[in-house]
């Protein structure tokens, strides 16, 4: 393999013309193994997923393709609350990530000075510990009767969230609030890093110019900084919303049976109930929904250079 990859690497720039035929094939040789891998283990499974979703049968007798599209309607009819919940929880987590992540990204880009690298490392550092262990830590933090719940109670925050239906009684654990809190925590770095990248590119003199033209700090932010950081906002929200909508770990570890998301349903159908057609149909609906939403969102926000 090596000799094929190395030889004509410089062909386009060098004066000496390499044997043409071989040179033209090089990119295809370079692409072949990796693209084949993606085709067989990423694209082909999508086909099998669709085929599985229209099969009927049982584990004992085996499944056969019968073009039973009814499965899709049944899946939607049975599990629309979980779909709705996924969109709501993932949406709430995405907004929270943006609200919480923006000040930190701004701090790293403009205010951290020589601490910039240290803060950046601290943002990435949590990744070094398995995310399941860190998610379990939230069970301790949000424990019933613990300091966090106590503080929220004293500040009457729980009264508000109870009224909104995010929590129930004196508990945070096993409520939607805990799940959204876990989702927000897990995907926050995916928001902060793209935000930071796009903020860092902004020319600091634009801020000065805005100030010279008598813009108040907040006006400068609203009219200059935020619009210029839009590419970061768009890719950050995508990088948060997409994985959050398919996540089942937070809903399982921090939630209850009332907080199950579509990921939880797919997981139990596939791995415990072994109802493969329903599970495949659900997974296909989720995929289609995400692809449509992402396409519309990218169109709307006009940032096409993400890919």
């Amino acid at each position: 393999m090596a000799s094929v990859t190395e030889a004509p690497l410089l062909a386009p720039q060098s004066d000496k013309k390499p044997p043409r035929k071989r040179g033209r094939l090089v990119p295809y040789w370079l692409l072949l193994p990796g693209i084949l891998w993606l085709l067989v283990f990423f694209a082909l499974p999508m086909v099998y997923q669709v085929s599985t979703s229209v099969q009927t049968g049982s584990l004992e007798e085996g499944f056969k393709v019968t073009w039973h599209f009814q499965t899709y309607w049944n899946a939607l009819a049975d599990y629309w609350p979980q779909f709705l919940r996924s969109v709501l929880y993932a949406g709430a987590a995405t907004i929270l990530c943006l609200v919480l992540g923006y000040p930190l990204a701004y701090l790293i880009a403009f205010r951290a000075g020589r601490w910039r690298n240290v803060v950046l490392i601290l943002v990435i550092a949590p990744f070094f510990t398995s995310f399941l262990i860190r998610t379990l830590a939230w069970k301790t933090i949000l424990a019933d009767g613990g300091p966090v719940v106590g503080a929220l109670n004293t500040l009457h925050v729980l009264d508000v969230t109870n009224w909104l239906g995010f929590t129930s009684g004196d508990r945070v654990l096993a409520t939607p609030l805990a799940v959204v809190c876990g989702l927000t925590y897990n995907f926050l770095p995916f928001m902060i890093l793209p935000l930071y990248t796009s903020l860092e590119r902004i020319d600091g003199r634009l801020h000065e110019a805005a100030g010279d033209l008598y813009a108040k700090p907040f006006t400068t932010f609203r009219k200059v900084t935020f619009p210029l950081s839009m590419p970061g906002v768009v890719s950050g929200t995508l990088l948060t919303f997409i994985p959050a909508s398919g996540d089942y770990v937070n809903a399982d570890l921090l939630g209850s049976t009332d907080t199950r998301m579509v990921g939880n349903v797919i997981q139990t159908q596939f791995l415990r109930i072994l109802d493969y057609p329903t599970a495949a149909a659900l997974s296909f609906i989720l995929m289609a929904a995400i692809l449509i939403m992402v396409t519309l969102y990218i169109r709307k926000s006009g940032t096409e250079d993400l890919v």
Binding site: S3, T5, E6, L9, P12, Q13, P27, Y28, L30, P33, G34, I35, W37, L38, L39, F41, F42, Y48, Q49, T52, L100, P103, L104, Y106, L107, I108, N117, L122, V123, A125, F127, F128, T129, S130, I133, R134, L136, A137, W138, T140, I141, Y185, L188, L238, P243, G246, D247, Y248, V249, G263, I266, Q267, F270, L271, Y276, A280, S283, L286, M287, I290
Partner: protein, 266 residues
């Protein structure tokens, strides 16, 4: 009044630091609770200080075995994804070819897909083919989802490379192989290293895709998941803390080395 003005001016800093605290709080809890001596099977409530778990990190049945499986898979997945991904990245930056758009979307899509969808669809493939789930199916899956991230990392580096450096090497009578090994590869190395590190981290910590395609093989994240149902041993926190410390030391060492190099250059 002065305080209010100070507060207003530093609002962003205060907000940012609060977020940083939110991000780091679980790590603090994990570390503190690695010194706990819990009463029941679950390590969620603080009881008393103890070094038991640190003295006997492998004291829990099967945990260190799962850790070694995870490490093996991560190493092989990193090697596989880095080689395949680097090749694709070079092809994308250096060559014109047909179907470039299709190739780009094939690389972008795995990153824009909820993990559970990739996990479920890959499982349908393995089920339909009657493949035996285990080490190999996990490895196949990991190489698949790490590949795109390696391509992105390497592509960024190769794109910013000055092609004149390679022309200079050729002008100085370096052959193609020599140019690649002594000029191209060293310049692309940081990008390849970044891609490899990312692949390792992603593979080592992956749970969702592994959970679907593991069969009865238990990786470390799967062990943690199981223990959330059966009872969480303190040793999990020891491993979590140790991984955190090792990784931070790694990063700090890298920073010190690159600082020194920059100083030597200057």
């Amino acid at each position: 009044m002065a305080f209010v003005r100070w507060f207003k001016r530093n609002l962003v800093v205060i907000g940012g630091l609060l977020t940083l605290g939110y991000l780091l709080l679980p790590n603090v809890v994990v570390t503190v609770f690695s010194f706990n001596k819990p009463k029941g099977r679950f390590n969620y409530e603080w009881q008393q200080f103890s070094l038991d778990a640190w003295r006997d990190p492998c004291g829990v049945a099967d945990m260190c075995g799962s850790l070694s499986i995870s490490l093996q898979i991560a190493v092989w997945a990193t090697i596989g994804a880095t080689i395949l991904g680097t090749m694709i990245a070079f092809a994308l930056v250096r060559y014109r070819f047909r179907a470039r758009g299709a190739v780009n979307s094939l690389i972008f899509l795995p990153m824009a897909m909820p993990e559970v969808v990739m996990a479920a669809s890959l499982l349908t493939l393995f089920l339909n083919l009657g493949a035996q789930l285990g080490f190999w199916t996990i490895l196949i899956a990991h190489i698949m989802f790490c590949l795109s991230f390696v391509v992105t990392a390497v592509k960024a580096r190769v794109m910013s490379m000055d092609p004149r450096l390679e022309q200079a090497a050729q002008d100085l009578y370096a052959g193609p192989v020599q140019t690649f090994l002594r000029v191209t590869l060293p310049i692309a190395a940081p990008g390849i290293a970044a891609g490899a590190l990312l692949a390792f981290a992603l593979s080592f910590d992956d749970f969702i895709i592994t959970n679907f395609n593991a069969g009865s093989t238990v990786t470390f994240p799967m062990f943690v998941w199981g223990s959330a149902q059966r009872g969480t041993p303190v040793q999990i926190n020891v491993i979590g803390t140790a991984m955190f410390i090792v990784a931070v030391l790694f990063v700090l060492a890298g920073m010190v080395i690159s600082n020194r190099r920059n100083k030597q250059k200057a």
